[in-house]
Symmetry: C2
Subunit: 189 residues, 2 copies
């Protein structure tokens, strides 16, 4: 998606060989027009597949996910990173975060995910894929089908996306970054 790649090149900063800072449009400040274009592209890729629900995880996945839900006319559920005190009947999974060097419990209410669901999971970044593993775990607990996994930016060099593809998951990333070495963003063709 060239519009997105141009924004990454023009505004993104390769802080280290692993960290791409895109907080001017994707995960702190949000550009609503870009989020809408991103969602249109996802909708184009996922239309006609019998998707019943969009899943995402707080917080940076919510903006593209709600735009996608609006375009596809589907409900959106955001997975919680902390178990809310006011919720019972939760599905849970453990997720290890390399960035934070800690394990978190992610959770979703059983009221909003079932064996009848065919879901698309949306997130801002795919790196090692640990958060996705939590989503796969949770969907497996109730027998929900995963139609596809959609990411705004995939850090291809961290390998999570290719591993998921090898396992047969449909992974759609709108920009795949294969290297951040020497402060330069190199995209996969």
């Amino acid at each position: 998606m060239n519009l997105l790649k141009n924004r990454i090149v023009n505004e993104g900063v390769a802080l280290t060989e692993n960290i791409l800072k895109v907080d001017s449009f994707l995960n702190h400040q949000l550009d609503p027009n870009l989020m809408h274009e991103v969602a249109k592209e996802f909708a184009h890729r996922f239309e006609g597949k019998g998707v019943t629900k969009i899943l995402t995880i707080e917080a940076s996945g919510i903006a593209p996910a709600i735009m996608l839900g609006y375009i596809m006319q589907l409900p959106v559920v955001f997975i919680k990173k902390k178990k809310p005190s006011t919720m019972e009947n939760m599905l849970e999974a453990q997720v290890y975060s390399f960035t934070k060097q800690s394990e978190n419990t992610v959770s979703i209410s059983r009221d909003f995910l079932s064996a009848d669901d065919n879901i698309v999971f949306i997130d801002d970044f795919l790196a090692s894929g640990n958060a996705v593993r939590g989503v796969i775990d949770i969907c497996g607990q109730v027998g929900a089908k995963i139609e596809a996994l959609g990411f705004v930016i995939e850090k291809g060099f961290q390998g999570g996306g290719d591993k998921l593809r090898q396992e047969g998951y449909r992974v759609e990333s709108l920009a795949i970054v294969d290297s951040l070495e020497n402060g330069e963003v190199i995209f996969r063709d």
Copy 2:
């Protein structure tokens, strides 16, 4: 906003005299059409006021805020509840959460808030108003003007909204709940 009030009556659950559970459409599962209607109503109330930016706070404020940003063609910034490891140059404020009985640091990059800004802050709930105090604190640190504070649901009986109004802030809540006693939702006229 009758559409919203009907959803609260039909799907909301008064778990206690203080807690209104609306996780089927507002803060866990999200109804994109309702979020769009909510944003249209906010846009109607805030148009022509010279607003430069929409602020919100992760996570449940993001969906209505990004829809509002799209309609008003304004950037959205979501305030972080944890200080990100990859961000420097942050503005910070302390916020006490009654729900969680703990004090959190909320933060926003100085890159995305300045004395030139005239902001609207959007969140899903207004209760005692502690989170809003953090936002007011942060805006004050750089001299950003607060045009208005917009909430999808205000728990009027917790007093945060009326106190803010008395202090001169423009508070716009699309549904004000004055009581949850006996499991019944009573709206302010």
